[in-house]
Symmetry: C2
Subunit: 121 residues, 2 copies
Protein backbone atom coordinates (compact mmCIF):
# COMPACT_ATOMS: atom_id res chain seq x y z
CA UNK A 1 0.00 0.00 0.00
CA UNK A 2 1.56 3.25 -1.07
CA UNK A 3 2.00 5.91 1.51
CA UNK A 4 0.74 9.36 0.77
CA UNK A 5 2.34 12.49 2.06
CA UNK A 6 -0.39 15.08 1.80
CA UNK A 7 1.68 17.48 3.78
CA UNK A 8 4.47 17.23 1.26
CA UNK A 9 6.72 20.24 1.03
CA UNK A 10 5.82 20.27 -2.60
CA UNK A 11 2.20 21.34 -2.13
CA UNK A 12 3.11 23.36 0.93
CA UNK A 13 5.54 25.48 -1.07
CA UNK A 14 2.86 25.97 -3.67
CA UNK A 15 0.61 27.78 -1.26
CA UNK A 16 3.35 29.93 0.13
CA UNK A 17 4.48 31.08 -3.27
CA UNK A 18 1.00 32.11 -4.21
CA UNK A 19 1.29 34.79 -1.60
CA UNK A 20 3.20 36.77 -4.21
CA UNK A 21 0.93 38.50 -6.69
CA UNK A 22 3.57 38.10 -9.34
CA UNK A 23 3.79 34.40 -8.77
CA UNK A 24 0.04 34.14 -8.73
CA UNK A 25 -0.19 35.93 -12.07
CA UNK A 26 2.46 33.76 -13.66
CA UNK A 27 0.73 30.65 -12.42
CA UNK A 28 -2.45 31.65 -14.22
CA UNK A 29 -0.77 31.84 -17.61
CA UNK A 30 2.04 29.36 -17.37
CA UNK A 31 2.01 25.84 -18.70
CA UNK A 32 2.75 24.67 -22.16
CA UNK A 33 -0.42 25.82 -23.85
CA UNK A 34 -2.22 28.59 -22.04
CA UNK A 35 -0.71 31.66 -23.62
CA UNK A 36 -0.82 29.97 -26.98
CA UNK A 37 -4.55 29.56 -26.57
CA UNK A 38 -4.98 33.12 -25.34
CA UNK A 39 -2.98 34.40 -28.30
CA UNK A 40 -5.25 32.59 -30.72
CA UNK A 41 -8.32 34.06 -29.07
CA UNK A 42 -6.90 37.52 -29.15
CA UNK A 43 -8.18 38.41 -32.58
CA UNK A 44 -11.68 37.26 -31.65
CA UNK A 45 -13.57 34.31 -30.27
CA UNK A 46 -13.07 30.84 -31.72
CA UNK A 47 -14.85 27.58 -31.45
CA UNK A 48 -13.33 24.40 -30.14
CA UNK A 49 -12.75 22.74 -33.48
CA UNK A 50 -11.04 25.84 -34.89
CA UNK A 51 -8.76 26.11 -31.91
CA UNK A 52 -7.74 22.53 -32.43
CA UNK A 53 -6.88 23.21 -36.02
CA UNK A 54 -4.94 26.32 -35.09
CA UNK A 55 -2.92 24.43 -32.52
CA UNK A 56 -2.03 21.30 -34.45
CA UNK A 57 0.31 19.89 -31.81
CA UNK A 58 -1.95 20.03 -28.80
CA UNK A 59 -3.74 16.88 -27.72
CA UNK A 60 -7.50 16.82 -27.24
CA UNK A 61 -7.02 16.17 -23.58
CA UNK A 62 -4.76 19.15 -23.06
CA UNK A 63 -6.92 21.49 -25.07
CA UNK A 64 -10.04 20.57 -23.13
CA UNK A 65 -8.16 20.67 -19.85
CA UNK A 66 -6.56 24.04 -20.40
CA UNK A 67 -9.78 25.57 -21.67
CA UNK A 68 -11.49 24.41 -18.53
CA UNK A 69 -8.82 25.89 -16.33
CA UNK A 70 -8.77 29.16 -18.21
CA UNK A 71 -12.51 29.39 -17.82
CA UNK A 72 -12.37 28.57 -14.13
CA UNK A 73 -9.74 31.29 -13.71
CA UNK A 74 -11.95 33.81 -15.46
CA UNK A 75 -9.62 34.29 -18.40
CA UNK A 76 -11.96 33.04 -21.08
CA UNK A 77 -15.71 32.68 -21.52
CA UNK A 78 -17.37 29.57 -22.84
CA UNK A 79 -20.60 29.91 -24.80
CA UNK A 80 -22.69 27.04 -26.03
CA UNK A 81 -24.85 27.49 -29.09
CA UNK A 82 -27.71 25.02 -29.37
CA UNK A 83 -27.82 22.70 -32.35
CA UNK A 84 -26.52 19.46 -33.72
CA UNK A 85 -23.69 18.91 -33.99
CA UNK A 86 -22.96 21.02 -30.91
CA UNK A 87 -21.05 24.27 -31.18
CA UNK A 88 -19.04 25.90 -28.40
CA UNK A 89 -17.24 29.21 -28.61
CA UNK A 90 -14.45 30.70 -26.48
CA UNK A 91 -13.64 34.38 -25.97
CA UNK A 92 -11.28 36.47 -23.89
CA UNK A 93 -12.72 38.14 -20.82
CA UNK A 94 -12.16 41.83 -19.92
CA UNK A 95 -9.48 40.93 -17.39
CA UNK A 96 -7.49 38.87 -19.84
CA UNK A 97 -7.75 41.68 -22.37
CA UNK A 98 -6.04 43.87 -19.82
CA UNK A 99 -3.20 41.42 -19.97
CA UNK A 100 -2.54 42.02 -23.65
CA UNK A 101 -0.37 45.15 -23.36
CA UNK A 102 1.70 43.45 -20.70
CA UNK A 103 2.22 40.31 -22.70
CA UNK A 104 3.24 42.45 -25.65
CA UNK A 105 5.96 44.04 -23.58
CA UNK A 106 7.05 40.65 -22.35
CA UNK A 107 7.18 39.53 -25.93
CA UNK A 108 9.45 42.46 -26.87
CA UNK A 109 11.63 41.73 -23.91
CA UNK A 110 11.87 38.12 -24.98
CA UNK A 111 12.93 39.13 -28.46
CA UNK A 112 15.55 41.51 -27.09
CA UNK A 113 16.85 38.84 -24.74
CA UNK A 114 17.07 36.26 -27.45
CA UNK A 115 19.01 38.60 -29.67
CA UNK A 116 21.41 39.36 -26.86
CA UNK A 117 22.03 35.67 -26.28
CA UNK A 118 22.74 34.86 -29.90
CA UNK A 119 24.84 37.96 -30.48
CA UNK A 120 26.73 37.66 -27.22
CA UNK A 121 28.09 34.22 -28.05
Amino acid sequence: MARRKDTSTNSFNREILNGSHLHYALDLISGRWKILILEKLRAGGLRYSILRKELPHISERMLALQLKELEKDGLITRSVYAGVPPCVGYTLTPISEKLIPIWEQLCCWGAAHRELQTTGN
Copy 2:
Protein backbone atom coordinates in the same frame (compact mmCIF):
# COMPACT_ATOMS: atom_id res chain seq x y z
CA MET B 1 20.16 0.74 -20.33
CA ALA B 2 17.05 2.84 -20.46
CA ARG B 3 15.56 3.63 -23.83
CA ARG B 4 15.16 7.23 -24.72
CA LYS B 5 12.46 8.60 -26.92
CA ASP B 6 14.11 11.69 -28.31
CA THR B 7 11.36 12.07 -30.85
CA SER B 8 8.68 12.26 -28.20
CA THR B 9 5.96 14.76 -28.89
CA ASN B 10 6.81 16.21 -25.56
CA SER B 11 10.21 17.57 -26.53
CA PHE B 12 9.05 18.22 -30.04
CA ASN B 13 6.32 20.52 -28.79
CA ARG B 14 8.85 22.29 -26.64
CA GLU B 15 10.83 23.46 -29.61
CA ILE B 16 7.82 24.57 -31.54
CA LEU B 17 6.48 26.63 -28.70
CA ASN B 18 9.75 28.41 -28.29
CA GLY B 19 9.16 29.96 -31.67
CA SER B 20 6.91 32.42 -29.85
CA HIS B 21 8.85 35.21 -28.19
CA LEU B 22 6.24 35.37 -25.47
CA HIS B 23 6.58 31.72 -24.74
CA TYR B 24 10.33 32.01 -24.78
CA ALA B 25 10.19 34.86 -22.27
CA LEU B 26 7.86 33.03 -19.95
CA ASP B 27 10.06 29.97 -20.09
CA LEU B 28 12.99 31.98 -18.83
CA ILE B 29 11.23 33.09 -15.68
CA SER B 30 8.81 30.30 -14.97
CA GLY B 31 9.29 27.53 -12.50
CA ARG B 32 8.64 27.57 -8.83
CA TRP B 33 11.60 29.66 -7.74
CA LYS B 34 13.03 31.85 -10.45
CA ILE B 35 11.04 35.04 -10.00
CA LEU B 36 11.32 34.66 -6.27
CA ILE B 37 15.08 34.67 -6.61
CA LEU B 38 15.02 37.59 -9.00
CA GLU B 39 12.79 39.53 -6.62
CA LYS B 40 15.24 39.01 -3.79
CA LEU B 41 18.09 40.25 -5.93
CA ARG B 42 16.19 43.28 -7.00
CA ALA B 43 17.26 45.47 -4.14
CA GLY B 44 20.91 44.58 -4.70
CA GLY B 45 23.25 41.64 -5.04
CA LEU B 46 23.22 38.87 -2.45
CA ARG B 47 25.45 35.99 -1.61
CA TYR B 48 24.41 32.39 -1.71
CA SER B 49 24.02 31.93 2.02
CA ILE B 50 21.85 35.04 2.32
CA LEU B 51 19.61 33.93 -0.51
CA ARG B 52 19.11 30.64 1.23
CA LYS B 53 18.06 32.40 4.39
CA GLU B 54 15.72 34.68 2.49
CA LEU B 55 14.05 31.74 0.78
CA PRO B 56 13.57 29.38 3.69
CA HIS B 57 11.52 26.83 1.77
CA ILE B 58 13.82 26.24 -1.15
CA SER B 59 16.09 23.22 -1.08
CA GLU B 60 19.82 23.52 -1.64
CA ARG B 61 19.51 21.56 -4.81
CA MET B 62 16.87 23.83 -6.30
CA LEU B 63 18.62 27.02 -5.28
CA ALA B 64 21.87 25.91 -6.86
CA LEU B 65 20.09 24.60 -9.92
CA GLN B 66 18.01 27.69 -10.53
CA LEU B 67 20.93 30.02 -9.94
CA LYS B 68 22.90 28.11 -12.54
CA GLU B 69 20.08 28.32 -15.06
CA LEU B 70 19.50 31.98 -14.42
CA GLU B 71 23.18 32.60 -14.95
CA LYS B 72 23.27 30.53 -18.12
CA ASP B 73 20.30 32.54 -19.40
CA GLY B 74 22.06 35.79 -18.69
CA LEU B 75 19.61 36.92 -16.04
CA ILE B 76 22.05 37.05 -13.16
CA THR B 77 25.79 37.40 -12.74
CA ARG B 78 27.85 35.21 -10.47
CA SER B 79 30.95 36.69 -8.82
CA VAL B 80 33.41 34.75 -6.76
CA TYR B 81 35.42 36.54 -4.11
CA ALA B 82 38.61 34.78 -3.08
CA GLY B 83 38.97 33.67 0.48
CA VAL B 84 38.17 30.93 2.90
CA PRO B 85 35.44 30.11 3.45
CA PRO B 86 34.45 30.91 -0.14
CA CYS B 87 32.08 33.74 -0.93
CA VAL B 88 29.89 34.00 -4.01
CA GLY B 89 27.62 36.88 -4.93
CA TYR B 90 24.72 37.11 -7.37
CA THR B 91 23.38 40.22 -9.09
CA LEU B 92 20.79 41.10 -11.71
CA THR B 93 22.07 41.79 -15.20
CA PRO B 94 21.00 44.79 -17.32
CA ILE B 95 18.54 42.70 -19.29
CA SER B 96 16.81 41.36 -16.22
CA GLU B 97 16.59 44.87 -14.83
CA LYS B 98 14.65 45.77 -17.93
CA LEU B 99 12.19 43.14 -16.87
CA ILE B 100 11.35 44.90 -13.61
CA PRO B 101 8.76 47.37 -14.92
CA ILE B 102 7.03 44.55 -16.75
CA TRP B 103 6.92 42.28 -13.77
CA GLU B 104 5.52 45.14 -11.72
CA GLN B 105 2.65 45.49 -14.15
CA LEU B 106 2.08 41.78 -14.10
CA CYS B 107 2.03 41.96 -10.34
CA CYS B 108 -0.67 44.68 -10.44
CA TRP B 109 -2.64 42.65 -12.90
CA GLY B 110 -2.39 39.63 -10.63
CA ALA B 111 -3.68 41.64 -7.70
CA ALA B 112 -6.58 42.98 -9.75
CA HIS B 113 -7.41 39.50 -10.98
CA ARG B 114 -7.32 38.03 -7.53
CA GLU B 115 -9.65 40.68 -6.22
CA LEU B 116 -12.05 40.06 -9.06
CA GLN B 117 -12.10 36.35 -8.32
CA THR B 118 -12.77 36.75 -4.61
CA THR B 119 -15.31 39.52 -5.11
CA GLY B 120 -17.03 37.88 -8.01
CA ASN B 121 -17.86 34.71 -6.12
